[in-house]
């Protein structure tokens, strides 16, 4: 019985030490979580901006960033009032929601880059074919034009008649 009690006590202390920082965050932990959330949000924005630069539609991701930003603002405001547990919780939630955004932005960027490469290849191929056709037609056209020009010049040559 004593053994059983001490085991329960040991497990309780172990679990408490494992999850204490989640339940009772202090000022230092809350501020560290805020800094992490701030950095995570900024990196997520950079990923989204890169995806947009690659031509992806990022409007959905911006809505998620807005939500994460609201969590961070809440975390800052609550941290100011001294409720560090709640501030920590909001900051961690912000970081977690932002991690998903980074992944989504990366896949959107890849998709957009692939689509762009495909489009560029197709357009460049069509342009090259059109340019080749233009070159060949240009050569034939020039030969035709040259011949016509010379014929007209020769027709203008003065004729010598016997008189």
């Amino acid at each position: 019985m004593v053994k059983h009690k001490s085991f329960v006590c040991f497990m309780f202390i172990l679990m408490f030490s494992l999850f204490a920082h989640v339940c009772f965050a202090d000022k230092v932990e809350a501020e560290k979580a805020l800094v992490d959330a701030e950095n995570d949000l900024a990196s997520a924005y950079v990923s989204v901006a890169e995806a947009e630069k690659a031509g992806a539609d990022v409007s959905g991701l911006l809505v998620k960033l807005e939500f994460a930003g609201a969590l961070l603002v809440e975390a800052y405001n609550i941290n100011g009032t001294g409720d560090y547990d709640k501030a920590y919780w909001f900051a961690v939630n912000c970081s977690e929601s932002v991690n998903e955004i980074v992944g989504e932005a990366l896949s959107l960027k890849l998709e957009a880059e692939n689509a762009y490469s495909g489009r560029l290849f197709m357009t460049a191929a069509l342009s090259s074919v059109a340019l080749c056709v233009l070159f060949v037609l240009g050569l034939f056209g020039w030969r035709f034009l040259k011949r016509r020009y010379l014929r007209r010049v020769l027709r203008m040559k003065p004729e010598v008649r016997e008189g």
């Binding site: 900024a42 924005y45 357009t123």
Partner: protein
């Protein structure tokens, strides 16, 4: 037309036709410079119009305005709008030098906007712990959107304008991916408040 003239005009026509044929590819590769890039920042009254701004304020009453941001930067932008509170003797941002006010921000909004989009959010505020002593008002606490901030701000009597004046103002900051930090975007706007008016 001389033979040389004919040759030159034919070559020019071919060159122009070649450019037209290549234009779809060129458009995809070359990035043309866009128009002027800028951001907007505004405060509107309680009816979302540029009127009925709170001016004569007192302790215990709630006031409401709207804060707005517009993005015309050519791409998505990440903004922070800082709400600051000052009396007449404290510094505003310097628009010429492009430096923000040295006052600490009380409240902030984080806004992500696509190019050409705008955002508007409420700014509800009220005062508590307001004391009049001699010719000075002291505002101890300012509540913004439900969050209470201790400000302890004094305002002396302004004989010229007849009032005890404070200013609630907002600054626009933009995130720079190159510098990996927020930069003051040289945009600020505020509302004057006459305490006890």
């Amino acid at each position: 037309m001389s033979f040389e003239g004919l040759k030159l005009s034919y070559m020019l026509s071919c060159f122009v036709l070649g450019l037209i044929v290549l234009s779809p590819t060129l458009v995809m590769v070359i990035t043309l410079p866009g128009g002027e890039r800028f951001s907007e920042l505004w405060i509107l009254g309680p009816g979302h119009m540029a009127e009925d701004y709170p001016f004569d304020v007192r302790a215990g009453e709630s006031y409401s305005v709207y804060v707005g941001v517009g993005n015309h930067m050519g791409s998505s932008s990440y903004y922070v709008v800082y709400v600051k509170f000052r009396n007449q003797s404290e510094a505003l941002p310097n628009a010429t030098a492009g430096t923000p006010s040295p006052l600490s921000p009380l409240y902030e909004y984080r806004v992500f906007l696509e190019d050409g989009e705008s955002w508007e959010g409420p700014l509800n505020f009220s005062f508590s712990g307001v004391l009049l002593s001699g010719n000075q008002y002291l505002v101890e606490r300012l509540r913004i959107n439900g969050v209470v901030f201790t400000v302890d701000k004094l305002a002396s009597w302004d004989g010229e304008n007849n009032g005890y004046f404070y200013q609630l103002f907002i600054e626009l900051w933009i995130y720079s991916a190159d510098l990996d930090e927020f930069q003051f975007h040289n945009r600020f706007v505020g509302v004057w408040l006459n305490m006890g008016g």
